[in-house]
């Protein structure tokens, strides 16, 4: 379900943003309610720390408050918000790049304990993707942005977005293959069982 698009009768994000520009606090509260979870999700999937994800989602809204006057209705609120979020994320990554090597493993261990197998597989497979392609795929799947929105956000031609998205999906399919085979072996009787034994063993050996 698209963030902000739950009901057709709802006031559009853009109208809310304009209301907010005119000083309506209620409009901001509504925008906050619509985008709080999606923005948190955006940061949570891209950062190790839950607290930082929450903080950065809040900072995105802070930036919106401060820069609302500069918002122009020709940009979608969704892309406007994710644009801010991407900038904050880039800044956060730059900040982390120095000490990430020490911090990341701890968080990952903690995350591993909590996260389900499914999530672990997807996460690890995504990490193997090329950064630009991963970003496009994640924006498409998790943030539910369409090609044009992704193109606007990343300042790329729409066709490039489509090509890279396709490449990313094909690569991810490859990376997820061992998991499917493992699951196929567990399921014992699934349609793909003839392919299971060899690659699963190979995967375990690799791990």
């Amino acid at each position: 379900m698209l963030p902000g698009g739950e009901a057709v009768t709802m006031i559009s994000d853009e109208a809310l943003m304009l209301e907010f520009q005119r000083g309506s606090r209620e409009a901001f509260e509504e925008l906050f309610a619509r985008y709080r979870e999606p923005l948190y999700g955006f940061f949570r999937r891209r950062l190790a720390s839950k607290d930082r994800a929450e903080d950065l989602a809040q900072e995105t809204f802070l930036a919106v408050i401060r820069a609302a006057v500069r918002y122009e209705p020709r940009a979608l609120v969704k892309t406007y918000l994710y644009g801010i979020a991407l900038k904050l994320l880039a800044a956060e990554r730059r900040k982390l790049s120095g000490n990430e090597a020490q911090l990341e493993p701890e968080h990952e261990e903690a995350a591993q304990e909590i996260a389900s197998d499914e999530a672990m597989w997807v996460r690890q497979a995504l990490e193997k993707l090329e950064a630009g392609e991963r970003e496009i795929l994640m924006l498409r799947e998790y943030e539910q942005l369409n090609y044009a929105e992704i193109a606007e956000l990343l300042r790329l031609p729409v066709n490039t977005v489509r090509t890279r998205l396709f490449r990313a999906r094909m690569a991810l399919k490859e990376f997820l293959e061992p998991k499917r085979k493992l699951q196929g072996a567990k399921a014992d009787g699934a349609g793909r069982e003839r392919n299971v034994a060899r690659p699963a063993a190979g995967d375990e050996g690799a791990k």
Binding site: Q21, R22, G23, R25, F28, E29, F32, R36, E37, Y40, G41, R44, R45, K50, E54, Q58, F61, L62, I65, R66, A68, V69, I114, A115, S116, E118, A119, W121, V122, R123, L126, R140, E141, Y142, N146, Y147, R162, T163, L165, F166, R169, L172, K173, L176
Partner: protein, 428 residues
């Protein structure tokens, strides 16, 4: 997975599944998908992958009843941030609600100003002026209206409404009433109808009778309900005395006071100036109202919400900052109103040149006395100098004397004996 035999490429198929294909191609893709098994398989793969990706769920956020405290604080802060030059910001500045606040705050500040100005700064003279003014015929209307703003409604005499400037004064009073009854009333003026001008004047006089002139200056000041901002008199022994004063005179009476002051002597220099401060005043009033509103809201936030300690500290810091700003602005506004209500007159009164001649030549008696004092001083100074010399050079002189005493005595005796011998030889 070659797409050679396919009318629809795999990438297009993906776009079709994403709903991103143009209609004509989408129709074709749908038809192709119906009959192509490879593509059906790919479509299934892609759908499955999306599902798998959705398997990466994240911890849910705790449901928020309200927006976080830091955001609430930023929202309160926002009008001031966005107020800058943009037209949009301006529009928002004058929303009815804010105008109501601004009106209320202005009224409060004005009442406070009357209180402070009359009680603290000016003392009894100013009270006298406030009571006298309605009767006094004024020449300069705008400043009268401005100073009328300093008068609280119950102090303002009804006769004021008969003057040509009753409009603004009346409106101001209405504002205060309006604030109490209907805070949403946005008909109150944003800008004072009459420009606020801070007037200054300079006057340099040369007076024959200095003391009399000085007394006259004070008398004129009193008559016009002014006060002395600063006054200094210098009286060098070899020149005429000079009085330098900064006089504060109610703006409407500046002309009359100046005319009277000019009668006191020969005008050596005169200047007048005026600075319009309406915009500054209006801006200050609006900013003040905003800041007070912000402070109130921040205080409410702090008392009614809980949040992270860090957020609470942030809000407290913000409140401190806003309060500092408010104090600064109240002081600025008070100073501005006073500059408008009271013109600044820099006066210099110089004593005429002949007065200096009288003072310069000392009498014969005092010249004798001065000579005697000088003589005494010289004698004392001489003794002191000798004493000092002896003290500093004495020890070394004594040593040299001791060293040289015997050789010199021996030499002296030898020379004397020699001379004696010569005398005796001559005599014999």
């Amino acid at each position: 997975m070659s797409s050679k035999n396919h009318s629809i490429e795999h990438e297009e198929l993906m776009a079709y599944l994403d709903g991103e294909l143009a209609t004509d191609r989408a129709v074709e893709a749908a038809a192709h998908l119906e009959r192509c098994e490879v593509c059906q398989e790919l479509a299934a793969e892609l759908r499955k992958m999306s599902q798998e990706m959705m398997g990466w769920e994240i911890e849910e956020l705790e449901p928020a009843e309200d927006i976080p405290i830091a955001l609430a604080a930023a929202l309160e802060e926002r009008p001031r941030v966005a107020r800058k030059p943009e037209a949009r910001g301006r529009r928002r500045l004058f929303t009815p609600r804010r105008l109501a606040w601004a009106g209320g705050a202005t009224a409060l500040v004005l009442v406070a100003l009357v209180f402070f100005v009359s009680r603290l700064s000016l003392g009894p003279q100013y009270d006298f002026r406030l009571r006298e003014k309605p009767q006094a015929q004024v020449t300069d209307g705008h400043a009268d209206a401005i100073s009328a703003q300093l008068v609280s409604p119950n102090e303002a005499s009804p006769s004021k409404s008969l003057s040509g400037y009753s409009g603004s004064a009346g409106k101001l009073e209405k504002d205060e009433d309006g604030e109490a009854n209907s805070p949403e009333d946005d008909s109150r003026p944003e800008v004072p109808e009459i420009p606020m001008i801070a007037r200054t004047a300079g006057l340099t006089l040369v007076a024959k009778e200095f003391d009399k002139t000085r007394a006259s200056v004070e008398e004129i000041l009193k008559r016009h309900s002014g006060y002395i901002g600063e006054l200094s008199v210098s009286a060098p022994s070899d020149a005429g005395r000079t009085l330098t004063a900064t006089l504060r005179i109610p703006a409407p009476q500046l002309e009359a006071a100046l005319a009277e002051l000019k009668q006191l002597g020969r005008v050596e220099n005169e200047s007048q100036g005026g600075e319009e401060v309406t915009q500054e005043y209006v801006d200050l009033t609006a900013r003040l109202a905003n800041a007070q509103h912000t402070e109130k809201r921040l205080t409410e936030i702090l008392s009614s919400r809980t949040g992270k300690l860090q957020d609470v500290l942030k809000v407290e810091l913000e409140i401190d900052r806003v309060r500092g700003e408010i104090e600064q602005m109240v002081a600025q506004k008070k100073e501005l109103a006073e500059r408008v209500a009271f013109a600044t007159l820099n006066t210099t009164v110089k004593e005429e040149y002949h007065a200096r001649l009288e003072a310069t030549p000392p009498s014969t008696g005092s010249r004798f006395r001065n000579a005697a004092v000088d003589g005494y001083n010289t004698v004392v100074e001489g003794f002191v100098q000798v004493g000092l010399f002896l003290l500093s050079a004495g020890p070394s002189l004594l040593i040299w004397a001791a060293i040289l005493f015997f050789p010199v005595r021996w030499l002296w005796r030898k020379v004397r004996a020699e001379l004696k011998k010569n005398h005796q030889q001559e005599a014999s």
